[in-house]
């Protein structure tokens, strides 16, 4: 009986939250849409969506008014290249679902099934204004597997909800360059050939399902699951997300994508600036970590803090990647550092919001503050790229999000060390 009551109450509360009409007033809005920047504007949120945005927008009578008091309002931050929700503790393998050692599952590996909505990592990101994340599969670190593909990435919404997966199968992940070479027997010449052979196998598989099912298949390198998973890639429906670093490797990938008619997204691309024109002409977006400036591998000798600025200048669409889950809150500082090294401020904001939404095909619902889109926005205490700034209010799908974290609980518990009872009694 009590359970039923709680269930009913919860449902009722959820429904109320969903139906809340909110008006964010006195806002300095970076819409990241066609309306551009709006000083002293209002955003009206109804049924989880943006109903109106502009300078002269009427506040509905039933709206809960959130006075931004002149603060900056932006779309929620969208970070790419993370393992958020699939890794709780990196070194505890039982809590790490970012990679598989399976000999039969590579391209078919799908991160969506490992996402834990109760991960303590998600609230830490949300507290910092991160509302969306691309989770990309990795490779198991021990190098025991020589399959080329890492698997399929997913876009998460970081709202406090039971199902964070917003768009599964958002891209097919593969690493080339040194990593790809190592998995293909130790040389680049082998990895590109192996990849082409795999794609050819997929095409054969599509044409010869009957033969395959009766066991009359030619020699295929990949399992049925992997072949199946790669069909949308060879059809150009699912982008191939390639982790690649050296300029010559980037050129090789561009050529391969042209020949195989693949949709391409690059990540890493530390030497991308050296082939920026080729990337722009091929209309290939790049996910990058702007501070990756060290020659820490022989394939990143040209790494530069100005990579983001130079790619943007050349017309390449960029977004920020942060190869982690626990530290995705730092992605806005990554953007700030890119600005300090020549990236225009607006371009940095775009790389944090609308660009990744476009790259991963969810810009119809998020990534900018525009009428009809999901109300995913953040009110900041200052410039969002500065460490000194906090996300004051985070709204996802029209619902104001809780900003508590486990870390905050710990900080509160240990803020004063001289209680009569042990800290464990502090809630």
């Amino acid at each position: 009986m009590r359970t039923l009551l709680i269930a009913l109450l919860t449902a009722a509360l959820a429904a109320t939250a969903q139906a809340d009409t909110i008006a964010v007033t006195n806002a300095h809005i970076q819409t990241m849409g066609s309306a551009g920047e709006i000083d002293n504007g209002t955003v009206v949120i109804k049924n989880g969506r943006i109903a109106a945005v502009g300078r002269n927008v009427a506040v509905p009578n039933d709206a809960r008014v959130v006075d931004a008091k002149g603060s900056l309002v932006t779309p929620g931050v969208f970070v790419t290249g993370t393992n958020i929700g699939v890794v709780e503790i990196d070194l505890v393998s039982q809590t790490n679902d970012s990679a598989t050692k399976s000999p039969d599952i590579s391209a078919a590996f799908d991160v969506q099934y490992g996402v834990d909505p109760n991960s303590t990592v998600i609230p830490v990101a949300r507290q910092a204004g991160v509302t969306h994340a691309l989770v990309t599969p990795g490779y198991d670190g021990d190098g025991s597997r020589d399959l080329l593909f890492a698997g399929q990435a997913a876009v998460l919404s970081l709202a406090d909800s039971i199902n964070p997966v917003m768009r599964a199968k958002a891209a097919m992940m593969i690493e080339l360059g040194e990593g790809g070479a190592a998995r293909a027997g130790g040389a680049r010449g082998a990895s590109i050939l192996a990849l082409k052979a795999d794609l050819e196998d997929v095409r054969w598989f599509m044409r010869n399902r009957g033969n395959y099912n009766t066991g009359a298949a030619r020699d295929l390198r990949l399992s049925r699951l992997d072949l199946q998973a790669l069909i949308p890639v060879v059809q150009g429906k699912m982008p191939l997300l390639v982790k690649v670093h050296r300029a010559s490797d980037i050129r090789a990938v561009l050529k391969l994508a042209r020949e195989e008619r693949l949709r391409l997204i690059l990540t890493g691309a530390e030497e991308g600036w050296m082939v920026a024109g080729d990337l722009a002409r091929a209309n290939v977006p790049v996910l990058l970590a702007p501070q990756a400036n060290l020659p820490d591998r022989f394939e990143t000798l040209g790494a530069s803090m100005e990579n983001a600025a130079r790619l943007n200048q050349a017309g390449v669409t960029i977004a920020f990647s942060n190869g982690d889950g626990h530290r995705v809150r730092e992605v806005r500082y990554d953007a700030g550092n890119a600005v300090a090294h020549g990236l225009p401020y607006k371009a940095a904001l775009a790389a944090l919001t609308i660009n990744p939404a476009r790259i991963f095909n969810v810009a119809n619902t998020t990534g900018s503050i525009e009428r009809g889109k999901s109300a995913d926005l953040v009110i900041w205490t200052g410039d969002p790229l500065e460490p000194s700034t906090q996300a004051q209010t985070v709204i996802i799908g029209g619902i104001e999000q809780p900003l508590d974290t486990r870390a905050q609980d710990l900080a509160r518990r240990y803020k004063d060390l001289n209680g009569a009872m042990p800290p464990a009694y502090k809630q």
């Binding site: 503790i89 303590t120 501070q291 530290r327 500065e386 460490p387 900080a411």
Partner: protein, 460 residues
């Protein structure tokens, strides 16, 4: 014939050496010092009397000075203050709208021992072959051509502690370096800086040796390992001391015990990798049992839970703001750690342990400050700058030489184009011992390692 050729080669080498020798190369006629077999040959870069004027100065002593002047000559700071006019003959640097801080110190770096590029041939940071390798010295692994030193300098780093890794209970000696480009590690060694001893608690030693089927495989064996080593070291130190006083023969020389005895004699500082609060308390008791001092806990993710204990024992914590959760012992790492340690009156330092983060210790400190404000603890910037300057200098035993902008200190000075706690701040000029080591606007002061010659120019 072969003999002749090698003699010729020797002669030639000698000629080249005498022609090109700088102060960086030790005079071969120097008598070796048994206490200091790898002496520093560091010589400051050329400098001239300099006056930085109109700057906002964070002195590292807790002061913030508006429209301030810093005067330095002959490698030393002469005076710092408002309303100082530059004496004649000084190079005047107008820092209007800019900020000046002491040189930034990274107390936890593996530059040179885990250099870029990170290939096996250059990976020399962890002698993971025995849980006690107190006999190894990080300086013997430092590759001066690590381009990371140049990147760190662009981020304002003027002094570093290079540590061995944390695989072992006793990892070996650290070395303190001045961040100048040099041909040899001796050419970077901070004159007069004490050595540190790297120790490690917790997961790393037990994982590394447990996986090899060796002890320690548990935390209790970690502790047994520390204590067994200190028992031997105490005996060695006692015999050595007695022999100095003419009482008995000195013990057979043992590099491992020599380093541990150096800790017991107070000459070598304990730099203890330790994440968990309860383990710190155990380490403090071990130090008391054997009569040595722990100078600092590194990483110290849970220092905030025992900040009172750390304050009472005068132990510094070197930590991050943003790193947590990569392993179980780092699960409770919180951004508020630094402000909570500071609030308890204990010494706190922000460190990197990373060749990227070392370029931005100012930003990491800014994130820690912001986290403090979120829970109602507002630490002023004039105080927080100590976490990467004065406190860091204290933690590595060079507080009498650098870490603050005070008369008589080494002129390790950074000019920033903005408030250093802003993400947009970049360094404009970096002086080390009064010598201009980096100038953003002048390519003549953009040193490049030998390794990077002939490779694409990133152009920063």
């Amino acid at each position: 014939m072969p003999k002749l050729r090698s003699m010729l080669a020797l002669l030639l080498a000698g000629a080249v050496l005498s022609a090109c020798a700088t102060a960086e190369i030790a005079d071969k006629t120097d008598k070796p010092d048994p206490k200091n077999p790898f002496p520093s040959t560091y010589a400051p870069l050329p400098g001239q009397p300099t006056a930085i004027v109109n700057a906002t100065i964070l002195t590292g002593t807790g002061e913030q000075i508006a429209n301030g002047t810093v005067l330095f000559r002959d490698g030393k700071i002469e005076s710092v203050g408002a309303n100082l006019s530059p004496p004649s003959g000084y190079t005047v640097v107008d820092a209007k709208g800019k900020w000046v801080t002491p040189g930034i110190i990274d107390v936890h770096s593996h530059l040179g021992v885990y250099p870029s590029p990170g290939v096996d041939s250059l990976s020399d940071g962890n002698e993971a072959t025995d849980p006690n390798t107190a006999e190894v010295w990080a300086e013997h692994s430092v590759w001066p051509q690590d381009e990371g030193f140049n990147a760190a300098r662009r981020g304002g780093i003027t002094t570093l502690q290079i540590l061995p890794g944390s695989a072992n209970l006793f990892g070996g000696r650290s070395v303190i370096l001045k961040n100048v480009p040099a041909r040899t590690v001796q050419g970077m060694k901070f004159p007069g800086a004490p050595y540190g001893l790297k120790m490690a608690c917790g997961e790393n030693p037990k994982r590394v040796y447990g996986q090899k089927g060796r002890s320690p495989a548990t935390r209790m064996a970690n502790v047994a390992g520390y204590r067994a080593a200190w028992i031997k070291a105490a005996d060695y130190a006692r015999k050595a001391k007695a022999a100095e006083k003419g009482d008995g023969a000195p013990p057979d020389r043992d590099l491992k015990l020599e380093t541990l005895a150096g800790v017991l004699n107070g000459e070598i500082l304990v730099q203890n990798h330790c994440y968990r609060a309860d383990e710190m308390a155990v380490m403090i008791d071990i130090a008391k049992e054997f009569g040595y001092k722990i100078t600092a806990f590194h990483h110290a993710s849970e220092a905030y839970k025992v900040a009172d204990l750390l304050a009472k024992n005068g132990i510094c914590s070197a930590t991050w703001a943003g790193w947590w959760g990569f392993k179980v012992e780092a699960l409770d790492g919180i951004e508020e750690n630094a402000v909570l340690i500071n609030k308890a009156g204990a010494c706190v330092v922000i460190h990197s342990d990373d060749p990227n983060l070392t370029q931005r210790l100012n930003q990491e400190t800014a994130a820690a400050l912001a986290a403090g404000r979120r829970i109602g603890i507002d630490v002023p910037e004039s105080e927080a700058i100590k976490w990467i300057t004065a406190n860091a200098a204290k933690m590595i035993g060079v507080a009498d030489k650098t870490g603050t902008l005070e008369t008589g200190k080494q002129a390790d000075v950074v000019i920033w184009n903005a408030d250093p706690f802003s993400v947009y701040a970049t360094t404009e000029k970096v002086y080390i011992d009064g010598g201009l080591a980096y100038d953003r606007a002048d390519p003549r002061y953009h040193p490049k390692s030998d390794f990077m010659l002939g490779h694409p120019k990133g152009g920063e």
